[in-house]
């Protein structure tokens, strides 16, 4: 293996590991704000329990996102030293603004959000929760803007091999950014929806449901049923945008080797990169043309038009099908789940077991779909690092292969251990009966305070009478 492939594998391993956690924390932050709001407006203790449980999940998720994000910021430099030298004029300000406006905001207020209760008032605490959620979303805005610029560069010109910005407005509104941003935020919301539903289904099946379980289940399922079709619509629009700006990526996703009219939609095939053909194809005639051109005889450009400057076909072809397949499964399970849950008036115990088992199996479906989608979009950018401007090989590092290989092995081992730990701990937390916490001098004092407040209000009432 050459150093470029190793550097890419290492960066991909880190990115894949990292994106799992922001995908959860972006939408989970807003979900927590909602749960807290429900608790404050209804005084229903089940919402407080839901908030507390999912706050713990958020804290764990956030920590994993922070440490893998730190790794990423170093790997920009260690793996792609030429990236900042050649594209720094675009990447620098966008990354800088992400750190300055988003990272500090979320990291600082996280402490107040997690542990500030009793030290700050309810409004300040709500504000802290809002700022954390806002920070995660703002961070997604900046980094997706940069990623989108790399996919569909705009507002820049090349002078002596270096990218110069001619219009920041054009950079910030580059063609694929609105689609990618919307697609990713909804992906995050869907991932969290199925996480809420899946964990609740697991708790119900194991007889470990808490008071919060039906609340989380209903919230997750309702969101999923609403967002799954929206995501399919947004994904389609994103695909059409890609067809316009990155036709080679679409050709690889659809397995179109030669430019053709009335291209079929391949449900399954084994793309053969050597002979430029698909084996064992199961196809819907004219399907791809109909979807992408909205015309059964529309023309789809084939891979042969791009010479060697097209991405590898198999990862895109299968990644795309995996993502779409899970999307369809999400739509199906969310709607069937809604239908069934409404029939039993959201009494989870009475839901059919096979349905609960299906939803449990879907707990991390959002992760798989998100990863598959990102592989399609990032591998689909190759061999370019900035589409049509700079090739990935031009910015790679000259660090000895052995160093990259050794650290790659270290990172992969670490990430595997951490993912297993994360899922195991999530399961452990979900299965633990809601603990009141040990009685400490402090909580004893809190109880005394509450007692005083209650008796105080009694006295007040007596006086008022």
């Amino acid at each position: 293996m050459d150093a470029l492939i190793l550097a890419r594998a290492q960066f991909a391993a880190n990115m894949s590991f990292h994106i799992l956690f922001p995908t959860i924390s972006i939408a989970l932050g807003w979900t927590l704000l909602f749960m807290r709001g429900r608790w404050l407006s209804t005084k229903d203790a089940a919402w407080l329990e839901a908030y507390r449980f999912w706050t713990k999940v958020f804290a764990l998720t956030f920590a994993l996102g922070v440490v893998s994000g730190l790794t990423m910021s170093f790997q920009f430099g260690t793996n792609w030293p030429g990236y900042m030298e050649r594209m720094g004029e675009v990447a620098g300000p966008l990354l800088g603004y992400e750190v300055l406006t988003a990272f500090f905001l979320e990291a600082t207020f996280l402490g107040v959000m997690l542990f500030g209760h009793g030290r700050v008032g309810e409004r300040m605490h709500l504000l802290a929760t809002f700022l954390v959620a806002f920070g995660t979303t703002l961070s997604a805005f900046w980094i997706l803007c940069l990623d989108s610029w790399m996919q569909t560069p705009a507002g820049t010109e090349m002078v002596d091999g270096v990218v110069h910005v001619t219009s920041w407005l054009a950079v910030l509104t580059n063609p694929s950014f609105p689609y990618r941003f919307a697609h990713m935020l909804i992906a995050s919301a869907l991932t969290v929806s199925f996480l809420l539903v899946g964990v609740s289904a697991w708790q119900t099946l194991k007889g470990k449901a808490m008071a919060a379980t039906p609340r989380a289940f209903r919230l997750g399922l309702t969101l999923a049923a609403f967002l799954a079709p929206v995501q399919i619509f947004v994904g389609d629009a994103h695909g059409l945008n890609t067809l316009q700006h990155q036709p080679a990526k679409i050709a690889a996703m659809e397995g179109v080797w030669h430019t053709e009219r009335g291209a079929p939609l391949l449900l399954f095939a084994l793309p053969d990169e050597k002979n430029h053909r698909n084996n064992f194809a199961v196809e819907v005639p004219h399907g791809a043309s109909l979807i992408l051109r909205h015309d059964p005889d529309g023309e789809i450009k084939g891979l042969d038009e791009f010479g060697s400057a097209h991405p590898p076909v198999r990862p895109l072809f299968f990644g795309f099908r995996l993502m779409v397949g899970i999307g369809m499964l999400m739509l199906f399970s969310a709607w069937v789940g809604m239908f069934a849950a409404r029939r039993v008036a959201w009494n989870l115990e009475r839901l059919p077991r096979p349905l609960l088992m299906l939803l449990r199996a879907m707990t991390f479906a959002g992760w798989i779909a998100t990863l598959a989608g990102w592989y399609v979009t990032e591998v689909g950018r190759q061999p370019w690092i900035a589409y049509g401007l700079v090739r990935t090989s031009e910015v790679a590092s000259t660090v000895p292969q052995s160093h990259i290989a050794a650290t790659l092995a270290m990172y992969v081992t670490l990430y595997l251990v951490l993912i297993v730990s994360y899922v195991t701990v999530l399961r452990h937390m979900a299965g633990k009966p809601a603990k009141e916490g040990p009685v400490t001098p402090q909580s004893g004092k809190a109880l005394a305070d509450i007692a005083e407040v209650i008796s105080g209000s009694f006295n007040k009432r007596r006086i008022l009478r």
């Binding site: 030298e85 720094g88 300000p93 500090f104 542990f115």
Partner: protein, 331 residues
């Protein structure tokens, strides 16, 4: 000097501030992490509680530091991060382990808590040693020789000691009772180690770099600069003296930590004066490495607006969690 020529200087100052704040803040986190094995069961929870609400934001200063290096000095980052490739990877390993252990140790099954406590301490020490190695290599201009490796190795042993002292003084501020007494004892033991790092860097940097030597040991600079080492020595002596005083158990509990911050600040000035205007000692100046003025101006606008806000809400967070550390409970 024109404003455009000033920009790299401004960014070098910002980068320096980010690294200084990082070393001061995550330094105490890492120090407390390394003290974990010496604390008993309940004390371990207090140790974590004393840094729990802060560590995340503290680590963000490192992201800002490396971010500024990448975006403001693109022609130096490849050289620096390339030369420090392995220690960077080790540091990241350590910081990852430390960061996740924070959460896993309280959320995992009780049987696994001891393991995660060990991971927490191990991560802290790996990160601190790797940072020491990087610091040693950096101040000797990233040269590759047995002497610079030896120096880096010495610093990688001594920097954890410095962090432990910082962490122990933080604990003197944030704890009380028996734990505070132990923190004082830990600080007494770490003090000589910290003094060693300080002296080593001060002695070796001028030996390794003629530029640095000329800076410090020519007249009248020598006398103009004398307050920096003198004040550092005074502050270090004051810390050692305070560690013998019963007052730091009461009203003066903040003093050793604040004096440590002062020492770090002075050390930072000394280092900055030695290195300026190089970003890689004796090889690349900040002007050679800097991004275009247009890029720097855009980032500067954001920095000027954001950094005071960051300062303000950091102060807010420290105010919310002021006083002795209490058990961390979710809201």
């Amino acid at each position: 000097m024109s404003f455009d020529a000033m920009l790299p200087v401004i960014f070098m100052v910002l980068l320096g501030i980010a690294m200084l704040v990082y070393v001061a803040l995550d330094g105490y986190d890492l120090g407390v992490g390394m003290l974990m094995p010496f604390a008993n069961g309940a004390e371990k929870d207090t140790l974590v509680a004393s840094i729990g609400p802060f560590w995340d934001a503290n680590e963000t200063w490192l992201v800002l530091g490396v971010g500024l290096l990448l975006i403001a000095f693109p022609r130096a980052q490849g050289v620096i991060l390339g030369a420090l490739y392995l220690p960077v990877a080790l540091m990241l390993l350590g910081l990852i382990l430390r960061g996740v252990a924070f959460d896993f140790r309280v959320k995992a099954h009780d049987d696994h808590r001891a393991t995660w406590n060990a991971v927490f301490a191990a991560g802290s020490i790996i990160a601190a040693m790797a940072q020491g190695w990087m610091l040693g290599r950096y101040v000797t201009g990233l040269q590759d020789s047995w002497a610079t490796d030896l120096f880096a190795a010495l610093i990688s042993l001594a920097l954890p000691g410095a962090y432990v002292l910082l962490g122990a003084t933080w604990l003197i501020l944030k704890t009380e009772g028996a734990l505070q007494l132990r923190a004082i004892e830990w600080a007494r033991r770490a003090w000589p180690l910290f003094v060693t790092v300080f002296c080593l860097i001060s002695i070796v940097t001028p030996i390794a770099s003629p530029t640095v030597r000329d800076r410090w040991f020519s007249l009248p600079e020598f006398f103009a600069l004398a307050p920096i080492p003198l004040m550092s020595a005074l502050a270090l002596a004051a810390i050692r003296g305070l560690l013998n005083s019963h007052r730091i158990r009461g009203k003066l509990c903040w003093a050793p930590f604040v004096l440590m911050l002062l020492v770090l600040l002075l050390g930072f000035f000394g280092l900055a004066y030695s290195i300026f205007p190089f970003i890689v000692v004796d090889q690349i100046t900040i002007w050679q490495a800097a991004s275009s003025p247009a890029t720097l101006k855009i980032i500067l606008v954001g920095a000027v607006l954001a950094i005071p806000a960051i300062g303000a809400y950091t102060v807010l967070a420290y105010r919310v969690f002021r006083g002795k550390a209490t058990e961390l409970r979710y809201a």
